[in-house]
Structures are given as C-alpha cells and as structure tokens.
Subunit: 135 residues, 2 copies
C-alpha cells in the first residue's frame, strides 16, 4: 500500500461530474491550482506560459470498474479501462496537460485547459519535457 498526501487542489467553476467536458480541449474553463504552503519552494520556477503536466486524484471515480463504453457512448463496445482515458479505473490518477496563464501568488496558479472538478486533489506537477531544452 502506498500513501499519498495531496500537494494542493483544483479551484474551478466545474462542480458536478455531469458537466465536465470529456477532455480539456473540448471547453474546460479557466481554473486555479491552490497549493499547500509546505510545497511552495517546489513551485519557485513555474512561470506564466509554462506547459505543465498536472496529476490529480479523481476522487469521484469508481475504482472497481475494469471495462467501460468509451466516452460513455453505449454504442461503443466495452473496452478495458487501460485502453481508455476513463476516470473509472483501479487507481484513478488524472494526467492533464495545461498552460499557466497567471501566477496568482506564491501558492496559486491560474491555468487553462483543465477539465477537473472544483476540489479535486492535486498529486504532482511536472514540466512538459522539451527535448530541445531539457531541464
């Protein structure tokens, strides 16, 4: 068993599962990431315009689901969740590619293109690796 303590959470106008777009590029609103004070040093180099991977804990997901109809479309055949981006899966970790639109404060970022609900725990963030300019 592995234990995780969230580093922060999502603040968004998306508040109910039914309202979330299936993927961020289908119309997610601007959202904020609010971090725990203990991780502020780890945010020191995040800048406006950065492309980041945000890892979230999809706390409303069903962890017993192993197969789904992709995109909740019953016309599509049942598919193993590891071949989908379904939220429902044994360890529901969301991977979201987002862009930083504003540094709101030392522990708060405004970002575009995040489809997660208000209150979603944030587990980790990473740079999107640029192979021409690795860091």
């Amino acid at each position: 068993m592995i234990s995780l303590d969230p580093i922060g959470h999502v603040r968004s106008t998306l508040t109910r599962r039914e309202h979330a777009p299936k993927q961020g590029h289908e119309g997610a609103p601007v959202a904020r990431l609010v971090f725990e004070p203990r991780v502020i040093l780890a945010l020191a180099n995040v800048q406006r315009g950065d492309e980041l991977l945000v890892l979230t804990w999809l706390h409303e997901a069903d962890r017993d689901t192993l197969q789904v109809h992709p995109r909740d479309d019953p016309r599509l055949p049942l598919t193993g969740v590891f071949s989908t981006r379904s939220q429902d899966r044994p360890n529901p970790i969301g991977v979201h590619r987002v862009r930083v639109t504003s540094i709101v404060g030392p522990a708060e970022l405004e970002i575009a293109d995040l489809e997660a609900f208000d209150g979603t725990p944030v587990l980790d963030i990473k740079t999107v690796l640029d192979r021409l300019r690795e860091r």
Copy 2:
C-alpha cells in the same frame, strides 16, 4: 490521505538508480509490465503497437526534496521540482510514454522506452489520446 494499491510492477534489466538513463529515449532497455490478476479485464484491448502512458511509483525517490539541480548537474541552478522531471518530489509518480512491442500473456506486456527500475510499482496505464480517433 489517499491509498493506492499497485496494479503491477516493472520487470527490467535496469536494477540500480545510477544506471537509469535520465529519460527513456536516451537508451532504456526493453522491459516488461507484469500485472496483478485482478486487473486482467482492464487490459483486454491493449494491442501490440499501442502507445500508452504508464504511471509508476518511483519508490526510491526522496519525498522531502523540493528543489534540485536539473539532470543532477551541479552547474545548473537549483530549480523547484515542479518545473523538472526529477524523481525526487513530494509524490513521486512517474509518467512514461511507452510503446507495446509484444503481448506476452494476459497479464504481461513487453514495452519499449521505459526508464524505470526492476521492481518499480505500476499505478495505472492509459491510452495516449489520439484526437483524431478518440476512444
């Protein structure tokens, strides 16, 4: 606190931290993913040639590290870990893009381009989303 139970583990000839390439494309060996029997149904649609995101638990990482010299190069300035791909971070979840080279069995895949060590726990796998052919 969030609890995770790994869905499987990495089997690889990479056995020591010092020997791992910094990123998969710098020369990771072929590796296998060995899954727990309870998640076999979730693997049903994974095929040879698929591009997958593999999420791992970087169990040798230091979870108290908030800033690092990128790529372990002391000439590079200390940088907040959220702007890097350092293993050392509060919740050390690895995100690896890999290609399935063979379906070894119902609970075992052979993959290319994975830089993780032998025994690394696997938390989740997802399709790399193809926006022209979402599923």
